[in-house]
């Protein structure tokens, strides 16, 4: 259809909004805009307060107003108390900049009910680039907004539930950590008190043999103390670095012996064992080192004792090996097979599924302990 021939003055459409009026009747675009289901209006920014100069029927249906109630008015009558101020500001800024804007805004009908308006505004300029009108379309997206709100509410509810649960778990963990620290603190204090009791009792005893027994007992308890001091220093309380412990223990035993002529030789790989193995390993190492200190070295003619105690820890291929060696008088001369210390070592070895072997190192003795040490996984300890 050649509609150009019947073309009327360019602004004929806004002479009236009546579909049946003669002016603009021949313009199919004007007719389409009048009849479309999409709500549309046109405003005139050249007039004061940018009033509506055209509103189609769909706009009137959507908003509930009559044509005479909207023509000549600024669109802000669609806003109400719950309309988002930021959305209004966004629209205002676009109009001032003569720019497009697309925004979802809560609008009010004549009867006070609300609807979500997917508003689109675009400026219309003439050939010279002068702003003539604003064209605005409104789409009721209340349904979409409702489901968006529902999804947001669901999400908020889930997030809140997750947050609450997380807080509960954190509180439970916190309580457990506090309890662990409390128990740890008590264990350490009690070990300290046991040591103190033994030392004080020992001071009152005259008999040398009894004194020596108490000293041996103190050494064993101090070995346990050293384990406990080291045990909770790391973040992971289920694992224990046995090489750090060995260093502490040997240094302590050697200085305590007061025999500066005896040197230590430490070859310690950093080896981590499970916490439950820490105590038996510590007691074994303590027995072997104190045994060597007591029996392996003979006093020289000048009253001093010279010698060397070596500790080597390594972990070849799923195993954990400890070697305690000395360059002293050798096994034949140091006989303690029937002693409590020896029984202790053998029982602890059984507990750890360890092989233990005394070798003649010529000079001296070498004790080799070998036990399985599977790589420890976090949380495998029951």
């Amino acid at each position: 259809m050649d509609w150009k021939r019947t073309r009327e003055p360019a602004d004929a459409w806004h002479m009236t909004d009546d579909l049946h009026v003669e002016h603009g009747k021949g313009d199919p675009f004007a007719a389409a805009i009048r009849a479309t289901r999409m709500s549309m209006i046109i405003t005139d920014p050249r007039r004061p307060d940018n009033p509506i100069v055209f509103a189609n029927d769909a706009f009137l249906r959507l908003t509930g107003y009559g044509r005479d109630e909207v023509i000549g008015k600024n669109c802000r009558f669609l806003q109400g108390p719950k309309t988002d101020k930021a959305a209004i500001a966004e629209i205002r800024a676009a109009i001032e900049d003569k720019a497009d804007v697309s925004v979802d805004i809560l609008n009010y009908r004549k009867d006070g009910s609300t609807f979500w308006n997917a508003l689109y505004i675009s400026p219309v300029s003439n050939d010279k680039g002068e702003l003539q009108f604003f064209f605005a379309s409104q789409l009721d997206v209340s349904d979409r907004k409702r489901s968006e709100h529902r999804i947001t509410a669901d999400k908020d509810r889930f997030e809140k539930a997750v947050k609450e649960r997380t807080a509960e778990l954190e509180a439970a963990l916190e309580a457990q950590t506090t309890l662990l620290h409390e128990v740890d603190h008590r264990v350490k204090n009690n070990l300290q008190m046991i040591s103190s009791l033994i030392i004080m009792q020992s001071r009152t005893i005259k008999d040398e043999a009894t004194k020596r027994s108490l000293k041996t007992m103190l050494e064993r308890i101090e070995a346990l103390s050293t384990v406990h001091r080291r045990l909770y220093q790391s973040k992971d309380v289920s694992r224990f670095d046995v090489s750090d412990f060995a260093k502490d223990l040997v240094t302590d035993l050697l200085t305590a012996s007061g025999r500066s002529g005896i040197k230590s030789k430490l070859e310690l790989e950093p080896i981590v064992i499970s916490a439950e193995k820490a105590t038996p390993v510590a007691l074994m190492v303590n027995e072997l080192v104190t045994n060597a200190l007591k029996h392996a070295f003979k006093e020289g003619p000048d009253g001093t004792t010279a010698g060397r105690i070596g500790i080597k820890m390594s972990q070849p291929d799923g195993h954990f090996n400890i070697e305690v060696s000395d360059d002293g008088v050798g096994m034949a001369a140091a006989n303690g097979d029937a002693s409590f210390g020896m029984r202790l070592i053998k029982s602890l070895a059984r507990q750890l599924h360890a092989n233990i072997e005394w070798r003649d190192a010529g000079p001296g003795t070498k004790v080799v302990i070998s036990m399985p040490n599977e790589p420890q996984q976090k949380g495998t300890l029951s």
């Binding site: 603190h185 300290q192 001091r229 302590d252 200085t255």
Partner: protein, 148 residues
């Protein structure tokens, strides 16, 4: 010979205080007082001339040992060493203390620490090896045991 130390013990456990006193005296030092609470400790700090105070974190009036250390630090007359089974409660700045002897310490560990502290207080920096179980505060680490 280095002059012995005058020691103030701030410890709520009688048994541990008793034993600590014996060990301190056996090592040739003297104990000038024993306090079990922070209030008692503060008044003793003012009334004695201790060179060094061994301060437990947990006292009869709660975890007030750090507070006591601050008080001693402000008076600038004595030095502080914490003695605690719970070193994690010590703030990072150590409240001005030299360091901490972690409980449970061994008899030898304590004797060695006393020797080390005697050297550190009288003729810093100490020459003895730092004993196992004794940790220096960052400030004292920088002065007494600077990394080569």
């Amino acid at each position: 010979m280095i002059e012995p130390l005058k020691v103030l013990i701030v410890e709520d456990e009688a048994l541990l205080a008793m034993e600590l006193e014996s060990l301190v005296e056996e090592a040739g030092h003297s104990v000038v007082g024993w306090a079990t609470s922070s209030a008692e400790a503060k008044s003793m700090v003012d009334s004695t001339d201790a060179d060094i105070a061994f301060v437990d974190i947990h006292l009869t009036d709660g975890p007030t040992g750090v507070d006591v250390a601050h008080y001693i630090g402000e008076r600038k007359r004595s030095m502080v060493v914490f003695m605690t089974a719970n070193p994690k409660r010590i703030p990072d700045h150590f409240a001005g203390a030299i360091g901490v002897i972690a409980k449970p310490y061994t008899m030898n560990g304590l004797t060695s620490a006393l020797r080390y502290l005697q050297e550190g207080v009288r003729r810093p920096p100490p020459v003895s090896q730092r004993p196992a179980g004794f940790t220096l505060s960052p400030a004292f680490e920088a002065v007494w045991a600077p990394a080569a």
